[in-house]
Assembly symmetry: C2
Homo-oligomer: 202 residues x 2
């Protein structure tokens, strides 16, 4: 049986690392940045532009009075929707190819008909700040206050993007099968444990 | 190393079953109703009375104007506090004896200094109703609407009790290390997976 695993994650929680390790243990593909590259290639939009849209840095708002009903008329006018539509297509194609781990990108929602195992990775702010300072060279010069703001802002964008396209609340445990808090637990061991659990499902 | 595992759970989610299976797999004691019995024995209060207090069915409210500050004066006047204090003492004693699984009773909070592995078990309302109809003879004559109300009422009591004594929000994933949703996942497999994970921690 195909094993499709989606990973939602708070910024700095180590969700990407957990997903990567899990995929390695299960010897199945791991999709993260590859999705962006494929969207850029297939849509003709610049990689950096796609990245900014997917990360919620660029939002093309719908006219206020018309709201989302406009989407039924000519959705392709809005780059956000072009990207989401392409993203959905690519993610579905990846999942149909076989077992895989997909990080972020509303994959839990996009693949809901395939009943993936949906994991959410989170941690307290303190340990996320610590991880960010250790792991991310582009933000390591931040002051603690700047890092806190950066984390909260990134999560807010992820939450808004998820909410907009899925109508569900990002990080709400009801939307996931397993939620793991990496504040005190070792990611390597968690990945090994999850891999053992997934292997056991047939 | 001692492995202390606490299980918080939504009513009807199968948290008790998960805890029991996990304890069996790990070959360590499982504490649930035993705690009530010990409280009754040691406090001299009737078992049924203790049960009603612990389940939040009886609440002795503090005088409104004095509030919780009163607790610093003569806490033993309030049966809820006598029970909570005895419960804390018993749970700590159980945990100090060695590895164990403890269900409910704010054990995650009571044992916070011992850094237990805190698990929360939840499920959507539909699957909890289904489980309740199958498993609980005393409520199997309920109509679906009655069962829904019963589940929501029981959870509300648990949430209030937890909030009152811990100051934290019951079921908020931030308070737990691992949260598992039993709506779609098999409890037996989850217990086996968690047991394998816990065994790996040294």
């Amino acid at each position: 049986m195909h094993k499709i695993i989606t990973i939602g994650r708070e910024f700095g929680s180590g969700g990407r690392e957990l997903g990567k390790r899990l995929a390695e243990k299960l010897e199945i593909p791991f999709y993260d940045k590859e999705i962006l590259t494929a969207i850029a290639e297939e849509s003709g939009l610049a990689h950096s532009y796609v990245e900014e849209i997917v990360e919620g840095k660029i939002v093309h708002y719908y006219p206020i009075m018309i709201g989302r009903t406009f989407a039924y008329q000519d959705v392709s006018l809005f780059p956000n929707d072009v990207v989401f539509s392409k993203q959905s297509e690519i993610i579905r194609r990846m999942a149909e190819k076989g077992s895989c781990v997909i990080v972020g990108r509303c994959a839990d929602y996009i693949l809901r008909d395939m009943q993936p195992l949906n994991i959410f990775v989170y941690a307290d702010l303190e340990s996320r700040m610590e991880r960010c300072f250790k792991r991310a060279p582009e933000t390591e010069h931040f002051s603690p206050a700047e890092m806190k703001k950066h984390i909260q802002k990134t999560d807010k964008k992820r939450a808004d993007y998820y909410q907009f396209y899925t109508g569900m609340s990002w990080g709400d445990k009801a939307n996931y099968d397993i939620c793991v808090n990496t504040s005190r637990l070792d990611i390597k061991r968690l990945a090994a444990g999850l891999a053992a659990y997934v292997k056991d499902i047939d």
